[in-house]
Symmetry: C2
Subunit: 295 residues, 2 copies
Amino acid sequence: VRAFGRQEACPEEITGVEWFRGNFNDPQAVNAAVESADIVIHAVSTTTPHTANLDKTGDIIANVVSTVHLLEACRNFDVQRIIFLSSGGTVYGIPSVVPTPESAETAPISAYGISKLSIEKYLALYHHLYGLEYRILRIANPFGPHQEYRRHRGVITAFLNDALNNKPVHIWGDGSIVRDYIYVDDLVNAIILSMTHQGKDRVFNIGSGEGRTLNELVAALERSLKRPVPVQYFETRATDVPCSILDISLAQEKLGWRPQVPFEQGLDRTIAWARGYNALARKKEGASRLRLAGE
Amino acid sequence: VRAFGRQEACPEEITGVEWFRGNFNDPQAVNAAVESADIVIHAVSTTTPHTANLDKTGDIIANVVSTVHLLEACRNFDVQRIIFLSSGGTVYGIPSVVPTPESAETAPISAYGISKLSIEKYLALYHHLYGLEYRILRIANPFGPHQEYRRHRGVITAFLNDALNNKPVHIWGDGSIVRDYIYVDDLVNAIILSMTHQGKDRVFNIGSGEGRTLNELVAALERSLKRPVPVQYFETRATDVPCSILDISLAQEKLGWRPQVPFEQGLDRTIAWARGYNALARKKEGASRLRLAGE
């Protein structure tokens, strides 16, 4: 197993993988990682639904163009299959049906969703022209341990980060926005199943099939943390679809997959991890303060 | 009325327009043409269904990225509306329904079709985020006078060019490929109607609604020219969809448009133009040979 990323070294938590350091926009670095690989799992994105809109052409070049280079590498190195982690929350736009099946109209309201959709189309093209096998997982909002806090990524991690640091959580809009949350272990199982799946279906929604408002998320956090979590509300963002719940029956039927970790259990595990992570972060911060003081 | 293109000067046939010379990938040149315009008709493509596949990333950058720059210019200069000439023959891929309505699945089997579809999505995004009004015309195979002969563009013009020069016409595949042909004057009427159209429908198929095989096209040419047209057959190309006929009922109903020039009449007019054009070309060629001989 190999992993590819921008960091100098493989994250400590991951063991037993060969680390390839590089930028996704560097064809040579991508080639080195892809050469002699059997299966490629494409989970790179340089943007978020929020940031992609701020630089739409940059988003196209960094993500769509770089992915076409990756597909070219897969083709040249005879990769057997590529799994692409697409976005169940953005490719449909404001969904015409809820829960939304894979066959629903794809009308993204964010540059991020357009890029993901374009990449999906190039995967189908490489299959059509060159026989490169692929599966696309349109993922709901993933959460769980090791999702580190970064701006505009992973609302549960962001909420947790603020709550554990005794800061109010930030909500854009009135908190009525509905999302579908999928626990990381369930997502990993879907990826594993998609690596060997046979059949004509190649695009699968991967979510819980259940919707939760942001306010319900806060309430769930309060139950798990056993204390109130204050909220600060901001103006609605134009790229947020009001409601996203995925219809996951195709993955259940054809991939033999179903989510196994109940939401509350996933949340408790994530809180346990985040507490350790925050404690560690404070310790490191303390240590670096000590070092600074001793300098 | 302004026109924008790479040529030094406006084509002689077009009068009464202000000519803006520039490359579509040059934002400054595009800005100059768009500034203070009310309506922009986007008919630029730097690739064809055949060439786009040969350089997929180049196609994305030249067409999708440049169009996002154009949309940004439209937004900055308060353009009221943009009309985009999309591709009815490639955005659907191998059509799930024939004749194909606008609501059919869009699964392109060419990089050209993916780019056109991506551009459509960015138009919808700019409408959603910034209120830029738009209409998309998914055009069948246009033909008619002034479609100059260039490789991989306009099969009727290509056939005519070969036939009038006493060369066999070239067909990829066995000639059973079905296409929908739309005469240029009918297309222009559709563009004019889409400039003022009000209503929630923004994507319209513009074709004849009738299918013709390539072999039928040759037969029609033979009838019009009153002589046999020899054919040379080549291997099928992977990017050619077997059958493309557009369902044009939405444009008829909502745009109040319908094709008015019967195919045979359009073909006769095109032949008349091509004969003059070829005679002129021969005269120019003769003149340049004379010049060469006199040098």
